[in-house]
Symmetry: C2
Subunit: 235 residues, 2 copies
């Protein structure tokens, strides 16, 4: 990690790896704008020009740093998700996993949220594809939930996906900027609950409540009627 001008011809893989490691650490520490190519070069033990042998420009370097990071995350998430059943549990896991990532790597997340989508070429980039792969899990869970009847069939699936990721991004912004804490478990619970049940009070009744109450009323009416007959007969 410490800077040392090597002037050794390393295998391409190793050089690229060194540069990506250095770039990741410098981007995380200083953000995109304030990260200098010279700093990255120094930390990677090369000279600025060398970086341009392997990366087209600063933005490309950032994209590749984040791509490498993302690839691991997507694979990891899908592995773990395979062992979880039930719409609620699976949805909570996806939410919890995302929050956990933010809690663990706030600095890199900050760069991702801020800088990646800034580039006009985002839609053509690897990162866009990876991001879709990552959020696809949530969409799949919702579709399964609809199939099993745990989720209403008329909900706009993509909007709900955006509710999950948009809310988390918005809510964790202060933490990501180094302000305040992040209560991962509590937040995961709250968001899962609100997404599944909404905030309205009218939804608290289980289905069938009206039926049951009507039967209760029937029984009371029957009782009253009988009481009325008895009372009438005795008087």
């Amino acid at each position: 990690m410490t800077a040392r001008r090597s002037f050794a011809r390393l295998p391409r893989e190793r050089r690229v790896g060194d540069i990506l490691d250095a770039a990741r650490s410098v981007f995380a520490e200083h953000g995109y704008e304030n990260a200098g190519m010279s700093t990255i070069a120094e930390q990677a033990g090369v000279v600025e020009g060398t970086i341009y042998k392997y990366f087209a420009n600063k933005r490309d370097l950032l994209n590749q740093v984040l791509s490498r990071w993302y690839e691991g995350m997507v694979a990891d998430q899908n592995d773990q998700l395979a062992g979880i059943v039930g719409t609620r549990s699976r949805l909570r896991f996806v939410i919890w996993r995302h929050l956990k990532t933010i809690a663990t790597e706030p600095a890199l997340c900050r760069v991702f949220f801020l800088e990646v989508r800034a580039a006009g070429e985002y839609h053509a980039s690897d990162l866009h594809v990876l991001n879709r792969g990552y959020t696809r899990a949530a969409v799949a869970i919702l579709r399964e939930g609809i199939a099993t009847g745990e989720v209403r069939p008329d909900i706009p699936v993509r909007l709900v996906r955006d509710i999950i990721y948009g809310t988390i991004e918005h809510h964790t912004w202060d933490y990501v900027c180094g302000r305040g804490g992040l209560h991962v478990e509590e937040l995961a619970d709250d968001l899962t609950r609100v997404v599944l049940s909404g905030i309205g009070s009218r939804c608290e009744a289980e289905p069938g409540t009206a039926d049951r109450l009507e039967r209760v009323a029937d029984r009371l009416e029957t009782l009253m009627a009988r009481a009325g007959r008895d009372g009438g007969a005795s008087s």
Copy 2:
């Protein structure tokens, strides 16, 4: 608007206004990074140095452009909101209003979403205060809803606020980047509905449930009234 070197000593207000107008248009067209101070200066009919007489630096200029824009929006929103009653309607209005702003000024919104929070000084800036004033409306509506019983009292109010603004920001990103359309009315309906009712099927509590419950209550009241009369007469 066309560039003309004036060398006239304009009143401070007018100069500042010219520069802000030019900056707004250039930032909207090119984004922050690709907007040149020289371009802004040219369009404002001054020389680069003049801008630094009134604004500390490029970022400060952007902040003031957005502050001026925001101030109008906040006042406007609160005015219109004053004429709307009912939690559902008020919540939908806030959502609709935000979407409408994005639909009308996607370029400025893009700059705001991307750049403003990038600065470390965001938390100390006017914009942060304005933003809190803007989103406070949603929080107030939720608290009123809890008071009137239309909203469950145990919901995390600030999380719901972030659901509203985070979801909108996330969902409209493609549109804001110039890709695809934006169906404001449909989106406002969907988001309002999901926030109020959630996505879970147990909440389906068939339409008409409330009516039926009220009829049950009517029947019970009738029974009680009759029981009271009969009981009183027989004793």
